[in-house]
């Protein structure tokens, strides 16, 4: 009988795997670009993880898959990332009542009870504005690395205004700011504001109760974190590894399959 529990989160941009032990402690994690086949990437990450730890597959007692690729991965169960995210965050932040998650293709606001039960959630409509993909497109237009956006936004003197909801049109806006001679930092600050504005609006549907935790890959971007905290008028907690919390929730559900 295995002693470990695996959570696999196959997202639109990134695949995350997390291993927890019977004490619900995270013992290992790995991430990789989902690319063409998130399933293959997930399987590779799991194999590597096991090899590094000198473990074999039999030591995994149960697996739960989540994220867009959840149905493709052979797991004991698939659970939506909203439920997994809530579970992972409740585990890390006992006082969390609101989770704001910005991933590659989705942004969502989740309201939860102590213990992680979801009471309401809102997600972006069929549009990538306010997501990680939006930031990637803008970074590309500015010939920047997406991980450098936060640092640059911090030195902006003036925030450019990016008003379009549409990612493609917003990219044209960025290009016109470039042509008008605006400094890159000011444009980046504007891009971060645009993402934050889109997500802040969503919180009005669900309500916003502290503590508020910000997760997903975009939470690594200090520019968006600051813009969002400012627009919401409340501090945001960011986990040390904000992109793996849904995978952690999935691993905890896997742990639950076996029972306490």
């Amino acid at each position: 009988m295995g002693q470990y529990f695996l959570g696999v989160d196959i997202g639109s941009l990134t695949t995350k795997v997390v291993l927890v032990n019977t004490g619900s402690e995270m013992v290992a994690r790995a991430t990789g670009r989902s690319g063409y086949s998130g399933r293959t990437v997930a399987e590779r990450l799991v194999t590597e993880l096991l090899r590094e730890r000198g473990m074999n597959k039999n030591e995994i007692a149960a697996t739960v898959a989540t994220g867009y690729g959840r149905v493709t991965f052979p797991a004991d169960r698939e659970v939506s990332e909203i439920t997994c995210q809530a579970r992972g965050i409740a585990h890390l932040f006992g006082d969390a009542r609101t989770v704001i998650d910005i991933g590659g293709q989705d942004s969502k606001v989740i309201r939860l009870l102590p213990g992680g039960k979801v009471i309401d959630f809102a997600m972006n409509d069929k549009c990538a504005a306010g997501t990680g993909r939006f930031l990637e497109v803008m970074a590309q237009a500015l010939e920047l690395r997406v991980e450098d956006l936060g640092e640059l936004a911090a030195v902006a003197r003036k925030h450019c205004n990016i008003s379009s909801f549409c990612t493609v049109f917003a990219e044209s806006e960025v290009i016109s700011h470039v042509s008008a001679g605006a400094p890159k930092a000011d444009i980046v600050a504007g891009v971060c504001d645009a993402v934050a504005a889109r997500v802040a609006t969503m919180t009005s549907r669900t309500g916003l109760e502290p503590e508020v935790v910000f997760t997903g890959g975009v939470a690594r971007n200090s520019g968006v974190v600051n813009a969002l905290a400012k627009q919401l008028g409340c501090p945001l907690q960011v986990p040390g590894e904000p992109e793996i919390t849904a995978a952690l929730g999935a691993a905890l559900f896997a742990r639950g399959i076996i029972g306490d």
Partner: protein, 409 residues
């Protein structure tokens, strides 16, 4: 991968199909019998006072019902594109676009489109403001008379002057119909029509109320399919006979403890028009998890009991008071009552890109209903017939998360 069938079909559906096929076949060949039998053809909105037309022996057909047919047959998107190419905005109602598309390209349209040209157009604004512009466009295309019944929006209860305003228009409509048909209104016939409508409505109401039983004998797709006669054949003998048959079957299910969804675990309420092109696929995501939609606001829109009294006065009140013409407070209250009466565990609102008056206030209603009932509500973004608006994976994701919330994990 084969999935276990969890859905119980109704025997009455066969009769429904027969009756609707007959109605559409008769309509299709109207040009052969309409003139000799002196029965003009009207295109009419779903919320218009059809009893008055039937009293004049006018044959009504419904572009909206036809739009739903285009949706279930998955040809709406093509027809919408035809209308868009002709200059109609993509933001216009997809029933209107499908219908206009079917006029422009009958070769793409089921049954070659509705029989045309109509002898008249009858439009009532109680369901939306779009119908007015849609029917004005039709009046220009065919150069035929357009009769409009303008029902003022009711922020509260029906006022005396609002009732008077609609009553005066109904009187004018009678005069116009007398002129168009060349015969006077037969008040006895109008009373008979209204009595049969009342009977149809009463039966539909009773069928719906049978779904208070646990497990519910019907699921939302049943309600959507079996509402066709209450829309198109309300006030006819056939509709009354049909709903008697359906009621017997539904009652029998209740007596035998048979549920539409095998192993019903979750009871839900639906809000807004059906997603016609996904009428089974969408609800299967729920029924597979043991979730049944026990009632809805949409097909319940035709449970509008006719007010007593003088027939025209009764119609003025009934047709102005329908729920789409009412305040968000009224609609929130209606939803709360449905959740309580049907012991529902949650509700799902279709934010329908086509139907603005139905969808715009849903977020306000959702919050109020959640606050007052404590049950969760989900909004899904789609369109009743334009498939381009339906994003399968994001919807599946939201539905799964919602069912995990309602059902517990």
């Amino acid at each position: 991968m084969a999935t276990k069938r969890r859905y119980l079909p109704l025997a009455s559906t066969r009769h429904l199909e027969k009756m609707m096929t007959k109605y559409y076949a008769l309509s299709r060949y109207h040009r052969l019998w309409g003139k000799p039998l002196k029965r003009p053809l009207a295109w009419i909105t779903s919320g218009a006072p059809v009893e008055l037309l039937r009293a004049f022996n006018i044959h009504p057909v419904y572009p909206e019902n036809y739009g739903a047919i285009c949706g279930t047959r998955r040809v709406s998107t093509d027809l919408c594109q035809v209308a868009e190419a002709a200059g109609y905005s993509q933001d216009l109602c997809s029933y209107a676009r499908s219908h206009i598309g079917s006029i422009l390209r009958p070769d793409l349209a089921p049954m070659g489109g509705l029989p045309k040209p109509p002898d008249m157009l009858v439009c009532c604004t109680n369901i939306c403001g779009t119908v007015l512009k849609w029917y004005e466009a039709l009046a220009r295309i065919f150069n035929v008379p357009l009769l409009v019944l303008d029902t003022p929006f009711l922020p509260g209860d029906l006022t005396a002057h609002a009732r008077q305003y609609v009553l005066e228009q109904l009187k004018e409509m009678v005069t116009a119909l007398e002129r168009l048909t060349g015969r006077p209104l037969n008040r006895d016939e109008l009373n008979r029509q209204l009595a049969r409508s009342s009977e149809t409505i009463r039966l539909w109401k009773e069928i719906r109320q049978l779904c208070r039983a646990t497990p519910s004998p019907l699921n939302a797709p049943d309600l959507f399919i079996h509402m066709a006669p209450i829309v198109t054949l309300r006030g006819t003998r056939q509709a009354v006979d049909y709903y008697r048959r359906l009621k017997d079957e539904v009652k029998q299910r209740v007596q035998q403890g048979q549920g539409a969804v095998e192993g019903e675990k979750i009871r839900l309420v639906w809000d807004n028009i059906a997603i016609w092109y996904q009428i089974f696929g969408f609800f299967k995501m729920f029924s597979q998890q043991g979730a049944c939609f026990v009632t809805d606001t949409y097909s319940g829109g035709w449970v509008m009991e006719l007010s007593p009294g003088d027939p025209l006065e009764s119609m003025a009140a009934t047709y102005t008071e329908i729920f789409l013409n009412r305040s968000p407070e009224f609609r929130a209250r209606q939803m709360i009552e449905l959740i309580q009466d049907y012991k529902a565990d949650g509700f799902v609102m279709h934010s329908n890109r086509s139907c603005k008056p139905y969808s715009l206030v849903q977020e306000v209603i959702r919050r109020r209903v959640m606050q007052q009932t404590g049950v969760p509500g989900l909004v899904v973004e789609a369109d009743m017939t334009d498939q381009r608006v339906y994003a399968e994976e994001p919807i599946r994701n939201r539905v799964q998360a919602f069912l995990e919330t309602v059902g517990g994990l």
